[in-house]
């Protein structure tokens, strides 16, 4: 622990203000990364969540301060003081709900918004640490969160691009067209793991299929998509 910060570990007017401002800055930095990617939770969302989380712990410390000074007499009579982490503990819960709202399951069986929810939750937890005056955790945590959000997607993309497994969602006119798609996959040595077929609607004639496939080395994802798109009877195609 850094000794130079000792004076700021106690709760007073200065450290309270500092923590709120720090929470805003840290929330802003994390939100900035997400904003640049055009994700739903931006700058202000992260900031608000981080500030809120920080306030809960500051409030706990304030109550503790009161119970040890001004209200000390009553505290002794009643025989209970507050649990310092009670407010903060609910943040972990509450922001989980908030995050759940950002997670969507699209009509194509794909889950979106999970990283947004997780990032929001992580920055709330960071806010708790800031509110507690745990400045070292804040510095290292911010660096690591930004690192994971900025650099890891690059690695993830490389992995995804070279991933041999892919899922494609195809809408087609009728069952007969399925043969064409499967035939093409056989011909290009694509392994078919799983096909999920659902008749979208009884009134509609078209069917939807979700293929889970394994590509041979030379094939690119986009190549496969473009090829299937040119086949007869294909209405829509998308990688999920």
């Amino acid at each position: 622990m850094l000794d130079c910060l000792t004076s700021l570990r106690e709760l007073n007017l200065l450290s309270m203000m500092l923590r709120v401002v720090l929470a805003m800055i840290v929330g802003g930095i994390i939100g900035f990364e997400r904003e640049k990617k055009g994700r739903p939770a931006g700058f202000r969302t992260y900031m608000l969540v981080a500030v809120g989380a920080t306030l809960t712990v500051i409030l706990s410390q304030y109550l503790d301060l009161m119970l040890n000074n001004r209200w000390a007499m009553t505290a002794e009579q009643v025989g209970i003081k507050t649990d310092l982490s009670r407010f903060g503990a609910q943040v972990i819960n509450g922001v989980g709900f908030l995050g759940a709202g950002t997670i969507i399951v699209t009509g194509r069986q794909e889950v979106k918004g999970l990283t947004t929810a997780a990032g929001l939750w992580a920055s709330a937890c960071m806010g708790i640490a800031i509110g507690a005056g745990f400045y070292e955790c804040m510095i290292i945590g911010t660096l690591l969160i930004v690192f994971s959000m900025k650099l890891l997607p690059l690695i993830e993309n490389v992995i995804l691009r070279h991933a041999r497994n892919m899922s494609i969602y195809v809408s087609m006119d009728s069952m007969e067209n399925l043969g064409g798609v499967v035939g093409y996959m056989k011909a290009s040595e694509i392994q078919l793991y799983d096909v999920e077929i659902d008749k979208a609607n009884e009134h509609l004639t078209h069917i939807n299929a979700l293929f889970s496939i394994h590509l041979p080395k030379r094939l690119q994802h986009t190549e496969v998509l473009a090829k299937i798109a040119t086949m007869d009877g294909i209405i829509a195609i998308e990688e999920v």
Binding site: M17, F43, T45, Y62, G94, F97
Partner: protein, 231 residues
């Protein structure tokens, strides 16, 4: 701690009034800004949430300080934090285009509730400072936010073409420029006559903005492509 606020630190008629009025004011100020932007949760929603939250911490302190009852003064208020998360989640909607809306409203409502807790607990300095900072975030930083949003390096192209083979050409063209394709969605639209049209939505990651026009132009030049538009 400022000594001038010491009169609100005990629970009596004056301090209860001050704390609750302060909660209404803090919630109102945050809500006013939302209302002004015509967001679903406005003035009254924020006031009610903020005031409700203030009453929980206030009640705890009343039970503890005035009645001398055995309770943790943080227990009631703590549940507010989780509970308002629920209400906030209700304001989040998913539009038909699979975009999430209302997240900032939800986060703002949640923060307003916590400021309400602080008001109710009698930590006046903190409540005022936090309200000012939230307003700064809402009023000043939104300009910065919009500037970043415009600089987003994602680009969505909407392409219409009449011959199915054109898509292979387009994909090749994009690959030649070493651009990363985020998504590719192709839909066939057939009329009652024999005219078949295809629509493709392509998500690209563009490193430099000046490339945009060049890509759009060269895709337009591909045979059988009828429309190219940036979304």
């Amino acid at each position: 701690m400022l000594a001038c606020f010491d009169f609100v630190r005990d629970v009596n008629l004056l301090s209860v009034t001050v704390r609750m009025v302060l909660a209404v004011m803090c919630g109102g100020l945050i809500g006013l800004e939302r209302e002004y932007k015509r967001r679903p949760a406005g003035f009254r929603t924020h006031i009610l949430i903020c005031l409700g939250a203030a009453m929980t911490t206030l009640t705890s302190q009343y039970l503890y300080l005035n009645m001398g009852m055995y309770t943790d003064v943080a227990r009631l208020g703590a549940q507010v934090i989780a509970g308002v998360g629920f209400i906030g989640a209700g304001t989040i909607i998913v539009t038909k285009r699979q975009r999430v809306k209302g997240l900032t409203t939800a986060a703002g409502l949640w923060t307003a509730a916590i400021i309400g807790l602080v008001c109710g607990a009698g930590y006046v300095e903190c409540a005022i400072f936090a309200t000012v900072m939230v307003l700064v975030a809402e009023l000043l930083l939104i300009r910065i936010e919009y500037r970043f949003a415009q600089r987003a390096d994602d680009m969505n192209l909407y392409i219409e073409y009449t011959d199915a083979n054109a898509i292979e050409e387009i994909v090749r063209l994009i690959r030649e420029r070493h651009l990363k394709m985020r998504e590719l969605e192709i839909t066939r639209v057939s009329n009652e006559t024999d005219n078949v049209r295809y629509c493709a939505i392509i998500g690209l990651r563009v490193s430099k903005k000046q490339l945009d026009e060049e890509i759009t132009k060269s895709i337009t030049e591909i045979k059988n492509v009828t429309t190219v538009e940036e979304l």
